[in-house]
Amino acid sequence: MKITLEVWRQDGPRDAGRMVRYQTEVSEDASFLEMLDALNERLETEGDRPIAFDHDCREGICGTCGLMINGVAHGPRDRTTACQLHMREFTDGDTIRVEPWRAAAFPVIRDLVVDRSAFDRIIQSGGYISVSTGAAPEANLTPVAKPVADAAFDAATCIGCGACVAQCPNGAAQLFTAAKVSHLGLLPQGQTERWDRAVAMVETMEAEGFGSCTNHRECEAVCPKGISIDWIARMNRDYLSARLRRAGRR
């Protein structure tokens, strides 16, 4: 199939950047990234700088890939990362526009590659349970009711791709942060640090320059793992009660 691509090209963080048009011919069995691979091979053969984009596992699990495809994070298919998107989702003759994630907290490094290290810093501020190696009790000492374990799992499947931020009209990282706050806050193992964790992670999230949540539900719709905005509500609750608790202690 013939596809016209319009791709965001930007040499570096300070470059202004622009959309550049390419014509490609691709098999409909190819994945979206394979189409970019092929285009890059051609560009390189012709001596042009290939399009920089992030990817690694190509299985939808590492969270490295992330493209705004025709105005939707990860493209048109539900619960599918860009790397798992295949060309058969498009039709011959389509024009496809590809842009990087855009958010102040995700500065563009080059072309479609952005810096998502803010996510790491959010986790570093409290997205863990403090248990050092060797200090763990026997695993079956603490039963966890299956519904609780299942819910924690649902929240834990976040791959940290950043699509939620990219798609949110406010550039908010609520879904990502809430997923981790909830995963750990649901489990009995995570109770001790539950309140401090919520406060620390939320405040780091805000200090990183993400926007606020006005409940647009865009994030949930594009999240490749279907993380629910219920977790955002839960994080709000945890954060507010943590604040009340702190105020009460004073």
């Binding site: 994945s31 596992c57 290290s117 763990a136 009790p137």
Partner: protein, 640 residues
Amino acid sequence: MSLDGLPPAQVPGGPLADKWTDHRDHLRLVAPNNRRKFQVIVVGSGLAGASCAASLGEAGYNVQCFCYQDSPRRAHSIAAQGGINAAKNYRNDGDSVFRLFYDTIKGGDFRSREANVHRLAEVSVEIIDQAVAQGVPFAREYGGLLDNRSFGGAQVARTFYARGQTGQQLLLGAYQALARQISAGTVTMFPRSEMLELVVEDGRAVGIIVRNLITGEWSRHAGHAVVLATGGYVNVYYLSTNAKGCNVTAIWRAHRRGAFFANPCYTQIHPTCIPASEEFQAKLTLMSESLRNDGRIWVPRSEGETRRARDIPEGERDYYLERKYPSFGNLVPRDVASRNAKAVVDEGRGVGPLANGVYLDFADAIERQGRDRIEEKYGNLFEMYERITGENPYQAPMRIFPAPHYSMGGLWVDYNLMSNLEGLFVIGEANFSDHGANRLGASALMQGLADGYFVAPYTIANYLAGHLGEAVAVDSAAFDAAESETRERVERLLAVGGTRPVDVFHRKLGKVVWDECGMTRNAVGLERAIGVIREVRDEFWSDLKVVGSGAELNSSLERAGRVADFFELAELMCLDALRRDESCGGHFREEHQTEEGEARRNDEEFTHVSAWEMEGPGDWVEHREPLEFTAVVPTQRSYK
């Protein structure tokens, strides 16, 4: 071949079951207040690297951790689906440390070091405790206790799992532990950083040379010890189930600096992957092995079949695994299933547009158990299959084909996980490890975490204890030389100035290695392969085209460097496969098979580890570490 030159394996004496405890009791310690005086470099942030860096950080060492991804959370361990073994015996089905040890060593076709495997089985139970305490949401039963399943044909249910995302959840556990240490300041993380050289001084690893993948800046890092946890190398085949970035570079650079490479030819080909569909295919996707529990594998009886699967009558189908292995049927081990698939495809009976697969058919299972039950068990896998192929496996059978998946070979290490270079520790898939000639399902996650949480932190401390008070610095002659050689190598890649981009060469290389050193091998083919690999390598070095410079984000340059190393590795793989004139596990030499076409070991001559030392380009010396078995008797596998 030579015995001298290979340091002792340091396997402690005493009864097998007590070796690790005894050994650990006598390892040297570093006092808490002295720990921060040590610098440890950990390259890799997968299960092995992250768990090791976090544990060392918790203990109080100064750790620098590196990965090439933009975040440590993205290491390829994240992709593991099936599960992790542990000898908890929660099911009361007779599992024990010994049984896990026995299954693992048998699965490895008696080509692994007995004491290591036993230790692995011992610490497996602690891994589960640690992971659960970190908040890893393993599957649970209704009573709230941990659930287990049987995996890869094991007769006990000892596999812990987190839906189809066990690797992800375990890695996030380790990543979070690492994040905690980063915020505590004990670990400094260097993402998007590629180690391109090991610095060795007087036979001792003292640091690494790193290129920043965003800016192209070079940096030197010195440490009292260097830990490589850089994963596996099956991307040498170009198409594999590994992430695009997986590479051999870190361990290959160490190998070039003197570290021995053990059993490079031991690679595992996984039987249930989605076949390639087009020329630009970039990677292959694994479908969980559990599918074989209900799916029936078949191909048409005749070559060149053109009808759709559903239109081929029962009588014209060949359920070849059920036919050849009546008792195990579709559940034969990975290597057997893989080889048989290759055989029928080679006969021209492959299915699909490119005739490069076999059917995995769920029609019977759906009829017997109902669509709902099948959907409940495999729904997400079916969905994934549909996403990739555009075909609906509820209606037409899946097409599958084997794909390279795991490398059992890697840098040689002693019982303390230290290579022959002092101060260089190698953990996880990067070492030649505990899996012998074939890895059992659900045991790589176990090994990576065992190494990182529970073995390396002790043995590294033991090593460091002897080096208290020594200063490390990056301004030595060894660093100067290493950095300039590395820079020069990168310059050379940029300067070739040819006409073809790197992937062209990688695909070519992959095809040779796959054809001649893949599922089956023979002497003639291997010899030919070595010749072809050299030719293609020369082409690479004379016709490579890398656009851009080294002072910027340049993924073609990154790949070129990795492919250059794959060329050298490929040659050694073939050499090792040639030298190992027997069949064992994943290494199947066509010359050595039983009447029924099964692998035939030659215990007499080959009960050893081949550890290769590089003498010069294309020139290796083999050292052999004999393997001794005290608690098990090597047997011939049979799945009839």
